[in-house]
Subunit: 437 residues, 2 copies
């Protein structure tokens, strides 16, 4: 049977993984796709860069537009990261009548609207399983396996780097800064880890999942996004004592006809499956109104897990499944979207930690400010000062005070925090984290 | 658009759930299927039985063959359990040119060969996501999301009843018999729970997964199948002390070009995800040569989770995805199958417990028999007699002796057990369970 011709744009880590699978397993791929898949072109920026993988049949080129216009090419596998030129390449490929497979989450998050609209106009499909949670087939699960359901809740660990760092901090009693260096040495964190540790990466993936599950167009500035890069070991330890793990939790759920949505370090009770995910793995807890709760976990990033998802998408594109799915998913389309709850109105229980001077009336002042902001307390734990909070010799003793609140809005909490910051007896700003329901 | 006409055969628990979804969510289903889905017939055995759900448009009938021959009917949703008449109905439906959706695992396990061959001859599809692990989309994961991979290992909890009973036994320190009664009262176990607790249900599902992942036709008598119905609380407790949970583990994995396959109570290290699954949930750990390890968990049975999978299959059938998948999956087809390793040659580490008289030389006798059968010991734990082993007053004291072996074959173990049973100092047959790698 006539082979299908594929051009890979970008031979970075994932692109090389995809090329390796297609080249090393031609029979397996042909059997599952119903025809052979051949890489005809690989587009790279620097033709002279040494590569650890040889592509015998492919033409190595830096002329992306010649490849897109080539009538021999059936499918474009677009694996350049970032927004430009990835966006412009995707649009050109769709206009040239090519189906596209991509792993670029940032691009779909920012420009999904334009890209999917262009794909619909061209009658072409965009497949993107690899864009969210790498080797975990969560796009297929939501878009195809849960079609009997209204999805009601997604709670997920979507950034493996952050989860690795949190696991190591608590497990080895080490600071964020120490563990980050270790994670970089082990290859679990990039040289520039900003997008991973500040919550942006998880938030971009959550935007895509929310669009898929709820049909809502959401911008990153519409919901709370806090990373793990300001966390202190002390809070992981206190949470542990209280029966919780701290996870960088990406949440979107239906609450009274609105979407509650946020990405932030969150206390999760240790018994829950998502609290038990250690190291660089991802997990998605997916709840539907018919099925109830289901969980999916595995490697959320890395060369071969991500390449596995790209190749599955490519096979779906070849067999025609992708083009059947595409109109039904109606991504960034005309569905009746569910509105996003304003970030300040989101309610949660909260963990709060104060570093206070060990003097009379300090707690009364704090309780008064919380009470005036409508925040009531569920429990209070006064700890002796741990060694972590190294204090100056002869200084006033500083003790940590940990409080768990009843449900309150993010807005009330913010207003209380502003008032608390004025208290002279507080030695550092209040630390706050929500507690998962 | 013209509605798709569906006949449901069997209005039991799952059938009623399917009818409820299709009737209560017509817009959701129409949007995702691309056209309305209408139940035109519901076939029941007893027309006069009172039902808690009303099907306004459907004709209630007990004439299954009239329904199958009805040209108005597009898809048959076959939800009768057991082998006959389910088999005969499926064959007739396929011959009449209908696509079929089913949840009947026993039927696919026993007659998959004949049914899928008939479907191929008729150019029709059989969709069966609901047959394995209910609300967990494991059929789609293996058949569609992991197409870049050779699956190398499946380890799964596939029977929720058994897992519920194991969780309760250890958690509440109660015997198998006590917990079984509780499980029946709570609806977690059937009035006749035989197939659940003797491992048959899990084994039938494993046969289907092995066929899907490896292309191998396997009969139930080709692999070891042991249920939880002979387990004693004492062994769950000793395993717990040793750092393991006992799970009814269904395993199929590639070992040197053969399939190692078995369903049996197995010791799993507590840190592993599958050890952390409590209660009536299922989990499948799926390993592929490209993606590495992934995990899927959720409700493996129950009315609405199973109905969710049936309706997703029905939507896949309507959109045409099922008929695209069907030839590619090549189930019970002509693939080069991977042979099954003979049950006696399967190697595992083992947990062994002996109830021995507390006298000199008892252990030497046991060690001698194990050694002569090529079984070497990794560790030995001699416990004091627990209250569980209630012994007669004034009888010789009986003490439990727990041993962990190095790897040995099931055949060697069986031969050792036969010799051990002749020892006068052993008060009851040796208890043995494999330890997961």
């Amino acid at each position: 049977m006539q082979p299908l011709n594929v051009a890979i744009i970008g031979l970075g880590t994932v692109g090389t993984g995809v090329a390796r699978i297609l080249t090393e397993q031609p029979e397996r791929i042909a059997q599952r796709a119903g025809r052979p898949i051949r890489i005809t072109h690989a587009v790279v920026r620097d033709l002279n860069k040494p590569r650890d993988f040889d592509l015998p049949d492919a033409q190595l080129t830096n002329d992306v537009h010649a490849v897109i216009k080539d009538d021999q090419v059936d499918v474009i596998v677009q694996l350049i990261g970032g927004l430009e030129p990835a966006r412009e390449i995707m649009l050109a490929a769709l206009e040239a009548g090519k189906n596209v497979v991509t792993a670029n989450k940032a691009l779909l998050c920012e420009h999904g609207d334009e890209l999917f609209s262009r794909a619909r106009q061209s009658g072409r499909s965009i497949a993107f399983e690899a864009a969210v949670a790498g080797g975990i087939p969560i796009i297929t699960a939501i878009g195809q396996s849960m079609t009997a359901n209204q999805i009601t809740r997604i709670e997920a660990i979507l950034n493996g780097t952050s989860n690795f760092i949190l696991t190591e901090m608590l497990g080895k009693s080490r600071s964020y800064a120490e563990v980050l260096v270790e994670a970089q040495q082990l290859g679990y964190a990039e040289a520039d880890p900003t997008m991973d540790v500040d919550g942006t990466d998880a938030a971009q993936k959550l935007v895509i999942l929310a669009q898929l599950a709820f049909g809502t167009r959401i911008r990153l500035d519409q919901f709370t996004r806090i990373g793990i890069n300001t966390l202190e070991l002390a809070d992981l330890t206190y949470a542990d004592e209280l029966g919780y793990m701290v996870k960088l939790l990406a949440v979107v759920k239906l609450v009274e006809g609105q979407l509650e949505m946020h990405v932030q370090p969150t206390l999760v009770r240790k018994e829950r499956p998502i609290a038990k995910v250690d190291g660089a793995f991802n997990m998605i807890a997916l709840e539907g109104d018919v099925v109830g709760k289901t969980w999916y976990s595995g490697p959320g990033a890395g060369q071969m897990p991500t390449a596995s998802a790209v190749v599955a998408d490519l096979i779906d594109t070849v067999t025609g499944r992708a083009s059947l799915n595409f109109p039904q998913l109606d991504l960034w389309g005309e569905r009746d979207a569910i509105p996003v709850q304003p970030a300040d109105e989101v309610t949660n229980r909260y963990y709060l930690r104060f570093n206070v001077e060990d003097r009379p009336h300090v707690f009364a002042d704090i309780a008064d400010i919380l009470g005036r902001n409508g925040i009531s307390l569920a429990s209070i734990i006064q700890h002796e000062a741990p060694e972590l909070d190294s204090i100056e010799p002869n200084a006033d003793p500083v003790v940590p005070l940990v409080v768990m609140t009843h449900r309150t809005t993010a807005g009330q909490l913010r207003s209380a925090e502003q008032a608390l910051d004025q208290l002279a007896t507080l030695r550092s700003p209040c630390i706050s984290m929500p507690v998962a329901d």
